[in-house]
Amino acid sequence: MTIPLLYALVGVVLLGMGLYSLVMYSHLVRKILALNVSGAGVFLFLVAAADRTSGPLPDPVPHAMVLTGIVVAVSATALALALACRIHQVSGTTQLTDNEPD
């Protein structure tokens, strides 16, 4: 097994772990943490795939993709956290309310 393949598989496992936690836990902060871990897994896979070039230099396009992804992830996380805090402020809960019955 080569080094890139190892990290790629780690990335896939992280993606799975994050998805499982996203579904299992109901606290909003946990869900946001889970999404961040899953995102890190996808990025790991991307960069590991980039390192499979035949020479010493890695492919820079996945690097640019992951940099973009990190920035998008922090933007989304900030919005999610602000929403979660506001929900807590307005309704006192840190979990999603059930769908309306009507």
């Binding site: 795939a49 933007s75 919005l79 307005v90 309306e100 009507d102």
Partner: protein
């Protein structure tokens, strides 16, 4: 370097994307100009899109390499009949909704929050429809999703905030799934360009897995049954113009990407029974969504469930296009659904918003006789209802007729039953509201008068839905330009 150079056809996509982005920055930096900037964009973007339509009807396609770099190094913007038609529909719906929003949002806080978000939403939609690069599509999807979520949260009620949070979580999960698919495609094929993937990607396990991931993500964002649970609360609790645009355009954007990927890259190599499965999910959506709409107590919730049902129709494209003779008809039918539903649903949401503005609530059992106070809005609702049910001469009728055609020609008569049943159920829930609105019971309590703009933009959109039916030949010609199917 003359003035005409600016408007060279090749640059049209760049203007269509850059103008709303520029407007977004201006509304952030100079909030006091927000409303004027919004109206300016609402007028100019439709004009530029019309020019693009003329160009596409003439030339067929239009391509632009951003930065002058050829694919696979650079990003390509690509306009054919399908993307131009999507741009046109979003220009119409967003244009009318902008005029509506200008009267709807009167507070000062809206200047700093609503208008920049609205401009980002428009920019994201335009960038999405013109993009031909799978990673660029991811960035536009995120731009679209985040602005939609923030717009839903603007109502500031507990329900709206919770709905926005649910929408955000679903949207992010969908984007992540899509991104993993992009990563797999790049790792296996070394390119991000749609065109190159279409021609060079061999069928392989990585291709099927990538498709499954991307489809799952996009289906979550398009609210196909059973991933629809986030849509009714989000669309029902958002401010009215936001609901209109969400139902009309935002859920269709991810569907558009799914269709593009399907048509260009994945279709030859995917199992036909997968297509039938997706069709069954669509049928469930139609039935279940219509039933829930029948049971809804609030008008906006009824309309939101109607969206769930109508999205089910879209996914019938998959099984109906499985044979080569019917493929073209099925795709045209599906996209005709997209266009007519966009106009009709937006009209209905705007009218519902006017109801809330006038009476302060939207509980259906308390809305009897309101046609006397707001005849224009109710007429708009009626016309839009005609299209939603699928009666001639509306766009909805054309769409259903194309679908029935495809179903009968390919021998899949069971879909005909579903489509007709859907139409009957739609009639039921539309008339459920109508019988109250047009009833002769004593009139409801006083409400304040509705601004003319709000009523007439709803009517304008409803008329577009009917117009789509009357101008079917031209629309079909535009849709087929550049042979997208």
């Amino acid at each position: 370097m003359s003035l005409i150079d600016f408007l060279r056809p090749m640059n049209l996509p760049a203007w269509i994307i850059s103008l709303p982005l520029l407007a977004a920055v201006v509304t952030v930096v100079l909030p006091r100009t927000s409303r004027w900037v919004g109206i300016f964009i609402a007028i100019i973007i439709p004009l530029v899109v019309v020019k693009l339509c003329i160009e596409i009807l003439d030339q067929g396609t239009l391509q632009m390499q951003v930065g002058g770099w050829q694919a696979p190094l650079g990003i390509q913007l690509y306009a054919d009949g399908l993307s131009t038609a999507m741009l046109a529909i979003s220009a119409i719906v967003l244009g009318c909704s902008t005029f509506y929003a200008r009267s709807y949002f009167t507070g000062k806080a809206a200047l700093r929050s609503f208008w920049p978000l609205w401009m980002f939403l428009w920019a994201a939609l335009n960038a999405l429809f013109l993009s031909a690069d799978i990673f660029n599509l991811y960035v536009t999807l995120e731009l679209l999703g985040l602005s939609a979520v923030a717009l839903v949260a603007l109502s500031q009620t507990a329900d709206a905030l919770s709905a926005a949070m649910r929408y955000l979580l679903v949207s992010l999960t969908g984007s992540l799934s899509y991104l993993m698919g992009v990563a797999l495609l790049y790792a296996a094929n070394g390119t991000l360009s749609l065109k190159m993937l279409a021609t060079t990607a061999p069928a392989s396990p990585s291709l099927s897995t990538a498709f499954a991931l991307m489809a799952a993500g996009l289906i979550m964002k398009s609210a196909l049954f059973p991933m629809h649970f986030w849509l009714p609360p989000a669309h029902a609790n958002a401010p009215a113009p936001v609901s209109a645009v969400l139902s009309a355009l935002v859920v269709k954007a991810s569907f558009y990407i799914l269709m593009r990927l399907w048509m260009m890259i994945f279709e030859p190599s995917i199992n036909p029974s997968a297509a039938q499965l997706i069709g069954i999910l669509g049928a469930f959506a139609i039935i279940w969504g219509s039933v829930q709409a029948l049971l809804a107590k609030r008008l906006k919730l009824l309309v939101a469930y109607s969206t769930v049902a109508q999205i089910g129709y879209l996914f019938l494209i998959f099984p109906l296009s499985s044979t080569p003779q019917t493929a073209q008809t099925a795709w045209q039918g599906g996209f005709y659904f997209v266009f007519s539903h966009a106009c009709a649903k937006a009209a209905v949401f705007l009218a519902a918003g006017t109801v809330i503005y006038v009476f302060g609530h939207d509980r259906i059992d308390k809305l009897h006789g309101i046609v006397r106070r707001m005849p224009v809005s109710m007429f708009a609702f009626a016309l839009a209802g005609v299209s939603l049910i699928g009666l001639p001469p509306s766009g909805g009728f054309i769409a259903k007729w194309l679908y029935l055609n495809a179903a009968l020609t390919s021998g899949q008569w069971w879909w005909c039953i579903i489509i007709i049943l859907g139409g009957l159920l739609a009639t039921a829930y539309i008339f459920r509201f109508f019988s109250r609105a047009f009833s002769y019971l004593p009139e409801v309590a006083e409400g304040r008068p509705a601004p003319k703009i709000m009523e007439w933009t709803a009517l304008g959109l409803a008329l577009c839905a009917i117009f789509l039916g009357l101008t079917a030949p031209t629309v079909t010609q535009l849709l087929n330009a550049g042979k997208p199917f």
